[in-house]
């Protein structure tokens, strides 16, 4: 027990050191690298907290895709250093942050001894959904409305990012082409790793119904493979104006809506699943969702169109 506790304490300390470094260092590039390491460490904490689904999502998104995204912004300012405000401002900020931290610690200590939980309720209905993984049941059944709205958020973010392009590039490709600087090893890595990664991504999504995984973790992994392929120059970002692309980014939400309204007819409620058919229906939604998520994540990272169509 003590060894586990020591392990947790060590992990916590490490997390704080790395996060602290990422926040306070004056070098932008170092901060981003630190943050990526933080994301990977954080997924270990999620494992420790018995949340393997979150751990996978955090590793793929927090450490992986977010890292690439922040790196892409920091490369341009690699040489620049952060200009920090006077020590007085920093001191006040530190005091404020310390007060919030202390208050939160107090509140953490005051959390009720008998933690209120929805675990029994979630477990009870699990059989009906046909899922073995309770987190997936929450995402795809009990709180499916959240998941649908969140996919709209993702789509909106894409529209928002696209809207930041320039008018004369509209319909063109994002400017994310590294084919001129490709090195042999990277090319090899892309050729070997991409197919394997995509397969693992599909596997993750597939087992998500019963084991840790799910559409988001799977989609994020496939997205990372797509980005690797762009980096290595073995593939090019698509034209934002292309028809197939538009269909693919909306597919997840579209299937959600269709199933949702089908629920009225089949089970009497929006997003209700008919008896015994819950699992196959959820899998259908997840297939479309994984596709849309993977594509949207890639497009969010590569940014708005930057070349003439």
């Amino acid at each position: 027990m003590n060894a586990v506790y020591g392990l947790f304490a060590g992990l916590s300390a490490l997390l704080l050191v790395v996060a602290g470094f990422a926040v306070v260092t004056r070098r932008h590039f170092a901060a981003v690298v630190g943050f990526t390491a933080f994301g990977l460490l954080l997924s270990l904490a999620w494992v420790a907290l018995a949340a393997p689904d979150v751990a996978l999502t955090e590793a793929a998104v927090g450490g992986g895709v977010t890292g690439v995204l922040l790196l892409s912004a920091s490369v341009q300012m690699r040489a620049k250093m952060e200009v920090l405000p006077s020590w007085g401002v920093r001191f006040i900020a530190a005091v404020l942050a310390a007060i919030v931290t202390a208050g939160l610690m107090l509140v953490v200590l005051m959390l009720p001894d008998e933690a209120p939980t929805l675990a029994p309720a979630a477990k009870e209905s699990l059989a009906f959904t046909g899922m073995g993984n309770p987190a997936t049941a929450v995402l795809m059944a009990y709180r499916a409305l959240d998941t649908m709205l969140e996919k709209v958020v993702l789509l909106l973010a894409l529209v928002a990012v696209w809207s930041l392009g320039r008018d004369h590039f509209w319909g063109g490709r994002p400017d994310f082409d590294f084919s001129t600087q490709t090195s042999g090893p990277l090319l090899l890595l892309a050729r070997v790793l991409v197919p394997v990664g995509v397969l693992v991504g599909i596997y993750l999504f597939w087992v998500g119904a019963d084991e840790p995984g799910g559409a988001f973790a799977g989609g994020a992994l496939i997205a990372a493979m797509g980005l690797l392929a762009f980096f290595a120059g073995v593939a090019r970002p698509p034209l934002v104006g292309s028809g197939w692309l538009r269909w693919a980014v909306v597919a997840g939400i579209a299937v959600f809506l269709i199933v949702g309204f089908g629920g009225f007819w089949g089970a009497g409620d929006f997003l209700a699943y008919p008896d015994g058919l819950a699992k196959p229906v959820i899998v259908v939604i997840e297939v479309a969702m994984t596709l849309s998520i993977a594509l949207t994540l890639v497009l969010l990272v590569v940014g708005p169109p930057g070349r003439r169509p």
């Binding site: 929805l118 930041l164 980014v249 629920g263």
Partner: protein, 489 residues
Amino acid sequence: MSSAALLILVLTLPVAGILLVVVGGGRQARGISLAVLVGNFAVAVGIGGAVCRTGRAVTYSSGGWTAPLGIQLRADGLSVVMLITAAVVALAVGVYAPNEFAVRRGGVETRRSLAFWSLLLAVSCAMNAIFLGNDFFNLYVALELLTFAAVPLVCLTGTRATLEAALRYLLFALTGSALYLLGVALLYGNYGTLDITKLSGLVRYEPGMPLWVAVALMTSGLAAKTALFPLHLWLPPAHGGAPPSASALLSALVVKGSFFLTVRLWFDTVPGQAGMRTGQLLGAMGAGAIVVGGVLALKQERLKLLIAYSTVAQIGYLFLMFPLAGHVGALSGGMLQAAAHAFAKASMFLGAGLMAEVAGSDRLDGLRGMGRALPLTTCAFVLAALSLVGVPPTGGFMAKWQLLSAAFSAGQWWWVVVILCGGLLAGGYMFRAVRPTLVEGIQPAAAIPRLREWVVLALAVCALLLGGFSKKVLELLDIGRPQITEMRP
């Protein structure tokens, strides 16, 4: 489908619209969006009918999963008033939206056409989700949807100033929603549910420090998103710099989203329990907004910035309802103000857009002769200004009247002083905005389609009518209120 299913319809209709716009490209965007917005308005009215008919809130649990495991949607009087207001404003903006966002038949999709129409529908969707949400995490997702729709609207033109304003707005909004989410996490940790109805029952018996930390975090996050003084710095450049159709959405609707959640938190989740001091603090910030926003509005030389600072000031009135909570007129005054301001401000921003199109800029000294060049718009402008100042019988007057009577019955005379001062300031800055339009002058000839002028006028008339029908609206607002608000002495 029962009438409760309308709640789902009003959420999903704009979503379907967004999908069609993205797939169909910007070419059909305008037609699709207008059809969806008309449908959205019809469904909102349908929900209003259902709530009025039954005399109580309509609820719907998605997927048949009831709270606390599932998510409940709930339409009460507050929801209905705001749903219809938002639907009218969104439709008006859609009809008004100038040709730069439309693509002619057979033409090529442009960046703006795709972005504007999908963002307009997304604002509509997010507002509906906020007005109907009864689960604090579901509301968090809705709030973020609103942010992602609002931020790019600020910088649709792509100029450097608007890009900077958008980035600043995004950072404020993200910090705000992070604080809100932190509060939500604490609520779940302490009560094991995020359903507002369930929470309101639980907190009555188990209040405590964690609850107040959660409420404080959520409130400060929401205040930052609502641009409550002194967290208002992001608003004027964002609302003043955006294209007029976008400014109208941002000022009339978007800031009301986070405000509405604050009302849900204080009046529905912890009604009658909030300490006197916290309420006074929020009220004081509102008072600061009224005074500072008013004074800064007086100093502006550009019409759109003046209107944006007026939004800062008018948001202040919304927060006067918190120190007066529990007194008749506080809640209804705040909600009437939210609706009246939405109509008047949308009308003003859209009208300012037309004037700027004619005059070539929105400088106040360049607006002479506008009364002759754009008579309908100028007339709407005057009407909207009267409502914002609070002249009877407009909706703005009724709102301020309700707040005044609440302040009297609470014996908190200082808010009376604030409201009267705010009225004087508003009179001053609105006079500055209106005067040049009524002075003789020559404007270059510009072909403004009559329809766009009528839209501006229609919105101003809505602000006026809200005053005339305020008794009906007040009755509607009362439907589905938890009993406890009236129980408080």
